[in-house]
């Protein structure tokens, strides 16, 4: 018999370490590929793994080998037309490729493509990022409790007595204690029935038995119907109830000045925010509010792809956000995040109003509010109002984005890990 060893169940994932080493080494390239990959996806559709491709030349391992020049003589198979001494136009290598001239490990110039798992994908995305105010969120979690049934206990307060359980216990106890007595009574009854066929002869015995039966009955009646011992109380424990739900408000200016390019920049910013929050909350809702002079709650498609024109009144969206929070998302149960994207163009007399809404109302309700201004131009009045705001409120942040490449750095800046 040959030695056959079944190794299928040992040392799985042997390559994990090597795989991690690979990821670590090419973090930069992988990160770039990941951020390319999110383009063209919907906001909620980002939370999966990804095929990543990075340039093969970046990860080639150099070694000494001969270059293409000089004299090469190579043997090919399948001669169909050549005779010795024939001259051939040069690109035979296109037909024949391969051989010793191909790159050493046969990888050629193609990109190196591989699959990232969902975890790896998101890890790379959110490395170095942490939720602002995360500490506070965690503390808040513990203060909210929910009472939950947790079986039965044998002591407690009368209001918590569980009648069915208690009576069931009593019945069991009565059966256990009274059972032997009842059995003896049945025996006596049977014997008496027999003896009573000749009552005279057995008179004495009958009397004794009847006496015993009476005693037994007394004892049986002495067994209490319910005892302290039988009582069962409903047990309730308090469990800390983490608030693992969040709502994210996307506010966007859709006035005529916000062109497709700016909207797609905003979209990617919102995507990042969604993904980021998704990592921290089990349940997350997204509310899209767009506005020009008036605000409107819409679905994602309308949010990004329909065009409006006309003026801009930013405060309309802030008003609407406040209203929606009051109606649907109580801050005691929801972690609320707001992100506003605009090109910074607002009616002059509206900007102080925005300041007021945020300062007096909204920022007290939300965990974090981020404003991004997508423009290459000079900051305008809204920006200056907001600047004053960010000095007063640590949960308010603002950044300017000029082009797509800025999104990720800006996002990181907005949501950077706060030093412990």
């Amino acid at each position: 018999m040959v030695r056959i060893i079944d190794r299928r169940f040992d040392s799985k994932k042997k390559s994990t370490v090597n795989r991690q080493r690979f990821m670590r080494r090419f973090k930069g390239q992988i990160r770039r590929a990941v951020s390319d990959a999110i383009e063209g996806r919907s906001i909620r559709d980002l939370d999966s793994g990804e095929q990543i491709s990075i340039p093969a030349k970046d990860l080639s391992e150099p070694s000494f080998h001969q270059g293409r020049e000089g004299v090469w003589e190579q043997v090919f198979s399948g001669n169909d037309r050549f005779a010795e001494g024939d001259a051939i136009d040069r690109p035979l290598s296109g037909e024949g490729g391969g051989g010793s001239k191909a790159s050493k490990d046969g990888e050629g110039e193609d990109d190196f493509v591989f699959a990232l798992s969902r975890e790896e994908f998101l890890d790379i995305f959110f490395e170095d990022l942490a939720l602002p105010n995360l500490v506070r969120t965690q503390l808040a979690k513990i203060t909210e409790f929910k009472s939950r049934r947790a079986g039965f206990t044998s002591d407690g307060v009368p209001t918590n007595i569980n009648v069915v359980r208690s009576l069931r216990g009593a019945l069991g106890r009565r059966m256990a204690l009274g059972g032997p007595l009842a059995a003896r009574v049945r025996e006596i009854n049977a014997e008496l029935e027999e003896l009573e066929q000749d009552e005279i002869a057995n008179a004495e015995r009958i009397k004794a038995l009847k006496e015993e039966r009476a005693n037994l009955r007394v004892r049986m009646e002495a067994i209490p119907f319910i005892d302290q011992f039988d009582l069962r109380y409903n047990n309730r424990v308090k469990e800390p109830q983490p608030v693992t739900q969040a709502v994210m408000f996307c506010l966007m200016d859709v006035s005529g000045s916000m062109d497709e390019h700016k909207k797609s920049t905003a979209k990617r910013f919102f995507m990042l925010l969604y993904l980021f929050l998704k990592r921290n909350y089990e349940h997350i809702e997204v509310v899209f509010v767009r506005h020009h002079t008036i605000a409107k709650e819409v679905d994602e498609n309308d949010f990004f792809y329909s065009r409006e024109s006309g003026g801009t009144v930013v405060s309309s969206a802030l008003h609407m956000m406040t209203d929606i929070i009051r109606e649907r998302y109580s801050p005691s149960q929801w972690n609320i995040y707001g992100a506003q994207a605009s090109d910074g163009d607002n009616w002059d007399n509206d900007s102080p109003l925005c300041y007021k809404i945020l300062d007096e109302e909204l920022l007290a309700l939300v965990r974090y509010f981020a404003y991004i201004e997508i423009t290459a131009g000079e900051p305008q009045n809204l920006w200056r109002q907001y600047e004053a705001l960010s000095e007063r409120h640590p949960n308010f942040a603002m950044q300017r984005i000029e082009s797509l490449e800025d999104i990720y750095p800006v996002f990181r800046e907005l949501f950077k890990k706060e030093p412990a």
């Binding site: 056959i4 990860l59 001969q66 004299v71 005779a83 001259a87 040069r90 024949g96």
Partner: protein, 515 residues
């Protein structure tokens, strides 16, 4: 004969394998292999999952290896190919160890398991045991232990000196791996116990040697005029990693040990690189012959044979030069055809064979096989045994690509006039001396700036590929001082092609990055 056939029971058929079925197949294959006189190491069969197979592929086919990102990269590449179905047939790994370990993948059908047993556990196994290169350069009884030692040692270094420092060092060693072998000297036997025992001693000793070489005490003044100093090393050295291990001025003892580990592993795989055609051809010949013998004995179902022949012929397919999937000469196809052909020359020689192969035409094929398997490598095997008949069958032709001429030219084809030239060209193609650049350590400026000079001797005017610049940086990292590479010109003079400068005062302790 027919009585024996009747006695034997047909082997289990169907796609599903079981341990009993594998055992039954193995028993019959082993019996037939012994009948044919195959001398092998003991066989150990290990059943593994496809993921484990990819692991094994990723770590150059060894059951254990040290950790490095390049193996992670291999794994990802293999995984992708496998998932796309580009790979599968080749899923067979056998380890040159005693006992010889053959991996079977659980996803394979019973037929494939039998094929792999015949191919790997008997074909490759016998080759490992018999071929002179493997006998000289490898120690099958010690390799697994050595790799365990290496992995543990490198893991310890990572703990002590940081993953990054070790990774950089390994990167540099890997870049020089192909030039980390002795071609002619036989290395001492590897063994974990000895290795561990001697390692401490070696550290101390090596360091003292290096110190001696690099001593900075001023030499005694002599009144004579400065005489021509002997070059160091006195003879050019081809084993770069060995030279670095022994003489690099700034390496720490643990770094020398890692250089040594990479060198030993490179050395272990050196015979594989020189015997691919022979070895794969040999293993293919034997799986084909062993299983056909079993079929002739009536042990195998027709369905088994159909599946077996299907995968056999897809592995051994040789596309023509103008097929889109042509990727050079398939070593399986060439090797298999040559071994088949040698048997034919022994058993049914033609006049042409008698003229070309007077010593083997009509000889006992098994003796001839044994002789050929033991004493050749690809280069000499082809030079010795490639017959005109095969060259005609493959329709071989040789093409010269000279960058100084505007057109390619056909230098030889499969005709009476071209056979010898063609055979020599093909043999050359497998000669590592032509395939790999000839680079040797030429000089060290022992008394001056400690710079290291390599010399490249171009073959057929071929320059080094651009990657050389990167490799030189790795070399400089190991050496710790300026390194340069000179190319020998047609007139015999040498000209500097690459230089990677490292000033003495900037050199760290050999580990600082160039990137």
């Amino acid at each position: 004969m027919s009585d024996i056939i009747l006695e034997r029971k047909k082997l289990p058929s169907g796609a599903e394998w079981s341990f009993e079925a594998i055992d039954a197949y193995h028993e019959e294959i082993a019996r037939v292999a012994a009948d044919y006189g195959l001398d092998t190491y003991r066989v150990q069969i290990e059943m593994i999952t496809s993921e484990q197979m990819m692991d094994a592929y990723a770590s150059v086919g060894m059951p254990v290896n040290y950790h490095h990102w390049t193996f992670g990269k291999q794994f990802l590449a293999t995984e992708r190919q496998y998932k796309r179905g580009q790979m599968g047939l080749a899923y067979e790994i056998v380890i040159n160890s005693d006992p010889c370990i053959a991996y079977l993948m659980e996803e394979n059908t019973l037929t494939m398991q039998a094929l792999v047993i015949a191919h790997a556990a008997y074909g490759h196994n016998a080759f490992f045991k018999g071929n002179y290169l493997f006998r000289t350069w490898t120690s099958p009884d010690a390799i697994v232990d050595y790799l365990i030692f290496a992995r543990n040692y490198i893991a310890q270094c990572e703990e002590r000196h940081g993953v990054e420092a070790v990774e950089e060092l390994l990167d540099s060693c890997h870049a020089l791996m192909n030039l980390g072998v002795d071609r002619y000297k036989r290395p001492p036997k590897l063994s974990m116990a000895k290795e561990r025992e001697r390692q401490q001693e070696r550290e101390a000793y090596l360091q003292s040697q290096v110190n001696e070489l690099w001593r900075t005490l001023p030499e005694q003044e002599t009144s004579e005029a400065p005489r021509e100093r002997p070059r160091f090393p006195p003879e050019p050295q081809e084993n770069l990693l060995y030279f670095i291990e022994k003489h690099a001025p700034l390496l720490e003892p643990w770094q020398r040990e890692i250089v040594r580990i990479v060198r030993k592993v490179a050395q272990y795989f050196f015979p594989q690189r020189q015997t691919q055609v022979m070895n794969e051809g040999w293993a293919s010949f034997w799986h084909y012959t062993l299983l056909n013998t079993l079929y002739d004995e009536g042990l195998l179902a027709d369905s088994f044979m159909m599946e077996f022949l299907h995968s056999h012929s897809s592995v051994l397919y040789q596309p023509n030069y103008n097929d889109p999937w042509y990727n050079g000469i398939n070593p399986y196809a060439l090797g298999f055809a040559m071994w088949q052909d040698i048997r034919r020359i022994c058993e049914q020689p033609t006049d042409e064979d008698r003229a070309w192969f007077p010593e083997i035409a009509g000889s006992d094929w098994r003796e001839t096989f044994d002789f050929a398997m033991r004493n050749f490598k690809d280069e000499s095997f082809i030079a010795q045994f490639l017959s005109p008949k095969l060259m005609r069958e493959f329709k071989f032709f040789a093409v010269v690509d000279d960058d100084e001429k505007s057109k390619l030219s056909v230098s030889a084809i499969h005709d009476e006039h071209g056979f010898r030239a063609l055979r020599e060209r093909l043999s050359n193609q497998y000669n590592l001396g032509c395939r790999e650049p000839n680079i040797q350590i030429w000089n060290v400026d022992v008394r001056g700036d400690r710079s290291l000079t390599l010399r490249y001797q171009p073959y057929n005017r071929r320059p080094l590929a651009d990657s050389a610049e990167e490799v030189m940086k790795h070399l400089a990292r190991l050496w710790g001082f300026t390194v340069r590479l000179e190319t020998v010109q047609p007139d015999g003079s040498a000209r500097v092609s690459y230089e990677c400068r490292r000033e003495k005062r900037h050199a760290g302790n050999g580990g600082s990055a160039q990137r």
